[in-house]
């Protein structure tokens, strides 16, 4: 018995380590390319270790574009979206998951339907809307919609909220609590993992969003990092080594945020573990 458990544990580890190698490949590729010359990056079969290490790629990349300003701009947008996404989506999801009201099914259907039409054909109508509101070249079109909730987030949270036992609500209603109290005292504390997931996704989305800033921002002083990275590429040419160096710097915060964020998953277990 013991032995077979041992064996299966080793198999699991083997699978995970093999998977990790594959998953580390892109990052490793990115980092090694960020310290190579443009030419070395493309050598086939690939060289895995840069020789020589060109650390100057980093200084050159970060000074070629206005990195600090783009970083600040991206941070502003990302932070604003993050807060908005968490508040509005959890409110909406609570309603769809646990409260009954007339028209709920219809509006939930509408919510899902809103994700089913490719963005290419709604881009121009949306743009015209923001232009008539005179908000082109501001961050408002990038932030405000998030504050009214995103369909993906609401649907995701709804699935989680729906899994929380109903007896908890019933008991609270009996004690005279209202929906708000239940939401705030029971639902939110019990759904830390999904909320962290939503937070991470929201962070990632705004951090990497390229199309939104491209379409809505005109002045370079307002640009984001995702746009800045594009500056190393052009029709006929690309400064690959600089692009790789800049990309490495840009994803570093994402990795850190993710690493920190996912640790709270564990905390979730103990809380969800208490069952009504």
């Amino acid at each position: 018995m013991r032995k077979s458990r041992r064996v299966s544990q080793i198999i699991v580890y083997a699978i995970l380590i093999l998977g990790s190698v594959f998953c580390l490949l892109p990052l490793f590729w990115l980092v090694r390319s960020s310290m190579m010359s443009s030419m070395q990056i493309f050598e086939m079969p690939p060289k895995w270790i840069p020789s020589p290490f060109r650390f100057q790629n980093y200084t050159e990349a970060l000074t070629t574009i206005d990195f600090l300003r783009f970083f600040r701009n991206t941070l502003t947008i990302t932070a604003s979206c993050l807060i908005g996404a968490l508040i509005s989506s959890s409110l909406g999801a609570y309603s769809y998951a646990r409260l009954d009201w007339p028209g709920k099914k219809f509006f939930f259907g509408l919510l899902l339907a809103s994700m089913m039409l490719p963005g290419a054909v709604t881009l121009i109508p949306t743009f015209i809307g923001w232009r008539l509101a005179d908000l082109i070249n501001t961050y408002v079109p990038l932030i405000l919609p998030v504050w009214f909730g995103s369909a993906f987030d609401i649907f995701l949270l709804r699935q989680f909220y729906a899994g929380i036992p109903r007896d908890l609500d019933e008991a609270a209603y009996v004690d005279g609590a209202g929906p708000w109290t239940i939401f705030w005292r029971i639902i939110i504390p019990l759904s830390k993992p999904p909320l962290i997931v939503i937070g991470l996704f929201s962070f990632m989305n705004s951090w990497n969003d390229f199309m939104g800033p491209l379409v809505y921002l005109n002045e370079e002083s307002k640009f984001t990092l995702a746009l800045g990275l594009q500056m190393f590429q052009s029709l006929h040419s690309a400064q690959w080594h600089l692009l790789m160096a800049a990309s490495t710097v840009v994803i570093l915060p994402v990795i850190i945020v993710f690493f920190i964020g996912q640790r709270y998953f564990i905390e979730g277990i103990t809380l969800t573990g208490m069952k009504g």
Partner: protein, 459 residues
């Protein structure tokens, strides 16, 4: 921003779109510009601000931005540079649809011609006529984009010409004579193939002329010919994209088929050129790493090659029937919605002047628009000779060949080109992968292409 105003702003357009789309052809829709840019107008005297949209890497961006700044200083006209780092057409399309187009800027040739046809771009002909300082004849004849006679929407942002680039050391090692730089001495196709074979080596070091040559284990290719540039061979064989009268599908005519087949044969019969599959594993820098001895490319590649460390040589393209080359260059246009056509034209002229954007020309990325820069030795010295981006022979092989024998790419004048290409590209995929002959593939799509053919612009 008051919320009510915002609400009105976002709800109105939908209603507007509804009414507009239902009311059908109502008016020209050109008046929607009224409120947008007039914020600065209140101060009394009008201060002109132009928006200039462009693409390009960080090097191009710097030169263009500097040029715009110096224009500002010279004229007092404000210019807002709008550098669009990617998805240029998506951004421009959205701006045009939203009635917030820039005043002027780069544009891809397909969009320029179709928007010009629909009257969204300013006709420069009257401005040119009025302008006593500006002479159309000073600029290359091939660079003009015309919708119809008398309706000129602009000229190329820069001239781009094609030629042969090679690693000199590799040719010397193989004992191959260097490619000629003058049109009348251009290699004919057979000579070219023979040399290319000499330059193609398998893993045992045998070249492609050797009877024991193993085409499955090629280490070094004689030539890389990006199928994207296939029009160069087509025009050299006397063919073109459309027939001369503009009514027929030129690529399905014998001259073009022959040329395209010859290119495919480089890969599958002579084995001197990498197939698209093999190209995928070739690095961008194949010349320098000696994976490829010669390549067909536009002058813009010189900017990158100048940074690399190898003995670069240039020559004219090998000829099929006549020695010529392709000339390319997407246009810069002025949008009709501009409220300052005079000032926009001033900026247009300024940016077309090689002197304003000299670093890009000197760096190899662009070729100048003005004829004089191809003939006057003093001016030639400013860009085409004596610097790293322009190796020996450049003035003949690229500069002279482009101005004298440069044939415009289809992008300058073929109507409906994007849609025709959507059929042609997949068909040619089959040729380049060796699955079909050029004749089969092109004849097969001819009936589908025919209804899309609408002739030439400017005629």
């Amino acid at each position: 921003m008051k919320f009510s105003k915002f609400l009105a702003g976002i709800a109105l357009p939908a209603l507007l779109a509804v009414t507009v789309s239902l009311s059908g052809c109502s008016g020209s829709g050109g008046s929607a510009q009224s409120e947008g840019d007039s914020k600065e107008g209140g101060k009394g005297e009008e201060k002109v601000t132009l928006k200039f949209a462009f693409w390009g890497d960080t090097i191009e961006k710097k030169t263009v931005t500097d040029a715009l700044k110096s224009f500002e200083q010279k004229t007092g006209i404000q210019v807002e540079p709008m550098h669009i780092p990617a998805d240029y057409l998506t951004k421009l399309t959205t701006m045009v649809a939203g009635n917030v187009a820039p005043d002027l800027g780069y544009l891809s040739s397909g969009a320029a011609l179709s928007w010009g046809k629909d009257g969204k771009l300013l006709n420069l002909a009257p401005l040119i006529e009025e302008d006593k300082e500006f002479k159309k004849e000073d600029y290359l004849d091939q660079v003009w984009y015309e919708i119809a006679p008398g309706n000129t929407i602009g000229m190329s942002t820069a001239v781009e010409g094609y030629g042969l680039m090679y690693n000199k050391d590799m040719l010397l090692e193989a004992g191959v004579e260097l490619p000629p730089t003058q049109a009348d001495k251009a290699w004919d196709w057979d000579t070219f193939i023979e040399y290319a074979k000499k330059l193609t080596l398998d893993d045992q070091g045998r070249n492609a002329l050797d009877p024991n040559f193993n085409p499955n284990k090629i280490k070094q290719f004689g030539l890389q010919y990006d199928p994207y540039n296939m029009m160069a061979a087509v025009v050299s064989n006397g063919g073109n994209f459309l027939t001369e009268d503009g009514n027929g599908f030129g690529l399905a005519k014998p001259e073009a088929i022959d040329a395209i087949q010859k290119l495919a044969d480089l890969m599958y019969v002579h084995h001197v050129s990498p197939t698209p599959l093999q190209t995928k594993s070739l690095p961008d820098m194949a010349l320098q790493t000696k994976k490829v001895a010669m390549t067909v490319s536009g002058n813009w590649a010189l900017q990158a090659f100048a940074e690399q460390d190898f003995n670069l040589g240039v020559g004219v393209l090998p000829k099929l029937m006549k020695s010529n080359t392709l000339l390319d260059g997407a246009p810069t246009v002025i949008f009709k919605s501009t409220k300052h056509p005079k000032e926009a034209w001033m900026l247009y002229k300024y940016m077309a002047d090689p002197e304003s954007v000299l670093p890009l020309i000197e760096g190899g990325l662009w070729m100048p628009l003005k004829k004089e820069w191809y003939t006057n030795p003093d001016l030639i010295n400013k860009w085409a000779s004596g610097n790293k981006a322009h190796p020996e022979g450049y003035t003949d092989a690229y500069m002279k060949q482009t101005i004298e024998n440069g044939i415009r790419t289809p992008g300058f004048e073929v109507k409906n080109l994007d849609k025709i290409n959507a059929l042609v590209t997949p068909a040619l995929d089959l040729v380049w992968t060796g699955k079909k002959s050029a004749e089969e593939a092109l004849k097969e799509i001819e009936p589908k292409v025919q209804p899309l053919i609408e002739g030439y612009y400017g005629k």
